[in-house]
Symmetry: C2
Subunit: 355 residues, 2 copies
C-alpha cells in the first residue's frame, strides 16, 4: 500500500498529463463503461465558532484501468465575508492542517493500492477538466485570458488554459491586492506569457476572449454585461454564475450531468448550512439544467463551439470520484516506475477473515 504526499504528486502529474489521463475516462463515461457513486455530503454540528462539520465522499469505478477510487473530505467549514462577499472556507483544525484523502483500490484483487492527500490532484483535475472544456468551446484564435480569482485553484486554471490555447496576455483580478500580485509574480516564473494583475474586475475582463472564474465565492462573480460575442466563460463553482449569465450564452456544457448528489444534515435551519444547501439557479428552477456534459462532447455526441460568434460556457459543476480514478491510476503507475512514495505493509489493509 503506497502512501504518496502532495509534493510527490505535484512532481508526478502535470496539468497536461492530467488532461491526457482524464480524456479516455470521459469517453468511457459517454459509453457507460464506468460507475459513479453518489456524492455524499453529511453536515453535522462542530464546536468551532460559526462552523459546521462536513463529511463528503465520492467514488468512481473505472474498469478499463482496473481501478476504484474513493475521495473523502472531512472538513470544518465556515462562511466568512471577504470584501463583502461570503466564501466557503475550510478551517485547518487538524493540527493546523486540512483533511482530504484519496483511496485507490484494485477492481481485480480488491486491494487498497494507494492513499494520498487530495489537494494537489484536486486542483489539477479541476484545472484539467476546465482545460478540456476550453479546448472544445473557446475560439481557436485567442489573445487574452481574464482570470477572476487568484487562490489555490487559479494556478491550474491558468496552466490548463495556456496548454490548450496560445494566449498572449493574461489579466488577473481578485479582491485582495496582495493575493493577486503574489499570484501574478508566481505565475510569471511558471509561464512565458504577459501576465498582469488589475485593480478591478471590469478592467480585467475588458477585451478578453476567455473569462475564467476560479473562486470560492458563494455568489455571482461573472457579470452578464461582460459577455460579448465569441467569448468563452468558465466556472469552477455553480454559484459563480446565475440564470441571467447563462441566459446570455448560446452554448453551455457541464463537466458532469450524471453524478448524483446526496445531501443530508442534522442542522436544519442553521444560517450557514442553509447557504450551503441553497444552490441558486442550480436547484431553484430558474434554469432548465439539461446541458450536455464534457463526456458527450469528447465522445462526439454533443457539439463544441460552432462559430466564432457564439457565447459559450463551461460549468465545472461537480467533482467526481472518476477524475481521481483516472488521474490516480496514472500517478500510481508512474510512482511505481520511479519508486516514489512510502510503502506500508499490505497486511495492515487486508484481513484473513471473510468480512
Amino acid at each position: 500500500m503506497l502512501i504518496l504526499s502532495n509534493e510527490e504528486i505535484s512532481k508526478l502529474l502535470s496539468v497536461q498529463e492530467c488532461m491526457a489521463a482524464l480524456e479516455p475516462m470521459y469517453r468511457d463515461v459517454a459509453e457507460e463503461r464506468v460507475l459513479f457513486s453518489p456524492r455524499v455530503d453529511n453536515i453535522a454540528p462542530n464546536p468551532h465558532p460559526h462552523a459546521y462539520y462536513a463529511f463528503k465522499h465520492m467514488g468512481g469505478t473505472w474498469p478499463a484501468q482496473g481501478v476504484q477510487a474513493l475521495r473523502i473530505n472531512s472538513d470544518v467549514v465556515t462562511h466568512p465575508l471577504v470584501a463583502g462577499k461570503p466564501r466557503r472556507v475550510k478551517q485547518p483544525l487538524a493540527d493546523g492542517r486540512w483533511v482530504g484523502l484519496v483511496l485507490l483500490f484494485s477492481t481485480e484483487t480488491g486491494k487498497l493500492l494507494a492513499m494520498f492527500p487530495d489537494g494537489v490532484m484536486q486542483r489539477l483535475r479541476v484545472g484539467a477538466t476546465s482545460g478540456l472544456g476550453l479546448k472544445h468551446l473557446a475560439r481557436e484564435k485567442v489573445e487574452r485570458l481574464a482570470l477572476i480569482g487568484s487562490g489555490w485553484q487559479a494556478g491550474t486554471q491558468l496552466a490548463a488554459a495556456l496548454a490548450v490555447r496560445p494566449f498572449r496576455e493574461v489579466r488577473v483580478y481578485s479582491p485582495r491586492r496582495e493575493t493577486r500580485e503574489a499570484f501574478v509574480a508566481e505565475s510569471r516564473k511558471l509561464h512565458k506569457v504577459d501576465i498582469r494583475a488589475l485593480d478591478s474586475a471590469e478592467a480585467c475582463v475588458e477585451g478578453a476572449d476567455v473569462i475564467a472564474a476560479a473562486t470560492s465565492s458563494m455568489v455571482r462573480v461573472i457579470e452578464p454585461r461582460w459577455l460579448q460575442r465569441g467569448v468563452h466563460i468558465s466556472t469552477i463553482k455553480t454559484q459563480e454564475v446565475d440564470a441571467e449569465v447563462l441566459g446570455r450564452c448560446d452554448r453551455v456544457v457541464m463537466s458532469n450531468r450524471r453524478q448524483t448528489k446526496h445531501y443530508d444534515n442534522v442542522m436544519q435551519g442553521t444560517p450557514n448550512v442553509k447557504a450551503e444547501s441553497a444552490r441558486g439557479w442550480w436547484n431553484d428552477g430558474s434554469v432548465k439544467v439539461n446541458f450536455p456534459d464534457l463526456a458527450d462532447v469528447i465522445a462526439g455526441r454533443a457539439k463544441g463551439r460552432q462559430s466564432d460568434r457564439e457565447i459559450t460556457a463551461f460549468l465545472n459543476n461537480v467533482g467526481t470520484g472518476l477524475q481521481f480514478a483516472a488521474a490516480g491510476a496514472y500517478v500510481l503507475k508512474k510512482a511505481r516506475a520511479q519508486r516514489a512514495g512510502t510503502e506500508l505493509p499490505d497486511d495492515w489493509f487486508t484481513e484473513d477473515v471473510h468480512p
Copy 2:
C-alpha cells in the same frame, strides 16, 4: 493515526461491550441526532471466473461521540452452490486475503483518527445488534436456542444470545458436518452451556424458543412450519426468510429502516449480479416493509414482545456505518488508554493546502 488489527480489536471489544456501545447510538437514531450516508454498492467486471467486483461503502455520523465512520468493502464476489444452495462468497484475491476497512474521523478537527480491518468488528456488531433485538423480542424464560449456520457470523450470534438470555441448551445445524462440529467444539470452550450439533435442520429447531439464522444463504433457511407460538426468530440476511415466514409472525422488528441503499452496476444481465440485486420479498412487493426498527424499540417508540404467545422476528436487514461509528469510538478510546495499535504520522493523512 492509529492502525489496529483484527486481533487487537478482538481483545478490545466483547459482544457485551459492543451492545453497550450500540445502545445509546440507537437512541440517537430514534431522536434523529445522527446521519446515515446512503449505503453504496458498485458492481463492475472482474477477470476471476464467474466473479464480479463489488465496492461497497457506508458512512455514519454520530455527533454525540464526535465521530464519523466510513466502512469500505472492496470485494471479488462469487455465488457458488454449497449443498445445492447458492451462497455469496468473497474471494480472497488480495494475496490470499480480503479487503474490508473502517476509517474513523473526528467531527471536531476533521482528522482521520484510525483505520482498521472490518472483519472482527463487523461480526461483533452483527451479533450485538441481533442480541439487542433478542433482548426486546424473545420470551424472558427460555431454554433452547437453535442456531442455523456455523460460519463466521454464528459465533457472535451465539455469544450475544447467551449474554441476554439464560439459555440452557444450544442446538446447531449447518449443511457440512465437519464445519458444524468444529464450531460446536470451539463454542464449548467459550461458553458453559450444553451445545450440540445435529444432523438436520428439523432436529435442530425442535422445541427451540429462539431460532437464529446466521448464514450466507441467498435463499430461505427458516421454514414456516417451524414457527410455533412464542418462538422468536432472528436473521442476519433478508434472504434467510421470505413472505411466507413473515406472514406467520405477530411482530417483526428490523435492525434499520432508515438506511437508504444505492445500487449500481455495469454488468446488467449477468446471472450472478442479477441474483445479487434480486432481494426477493424485500423488493418484490410481497411484504409491506413498514416494520418498526430497533432504534424505535430501544427509544420506547415501538413495542417489543407483548405476550408469551407472540411469534416474533428480528431482521438484521442492513448494516450501517453508525454501528462502526459507535463500536469504533469505544474501541478507539480503549486502544488509546492501553496504548494498543500502531501509530502512523498524522502528516501522511492531512495536508497543508486548502483542498
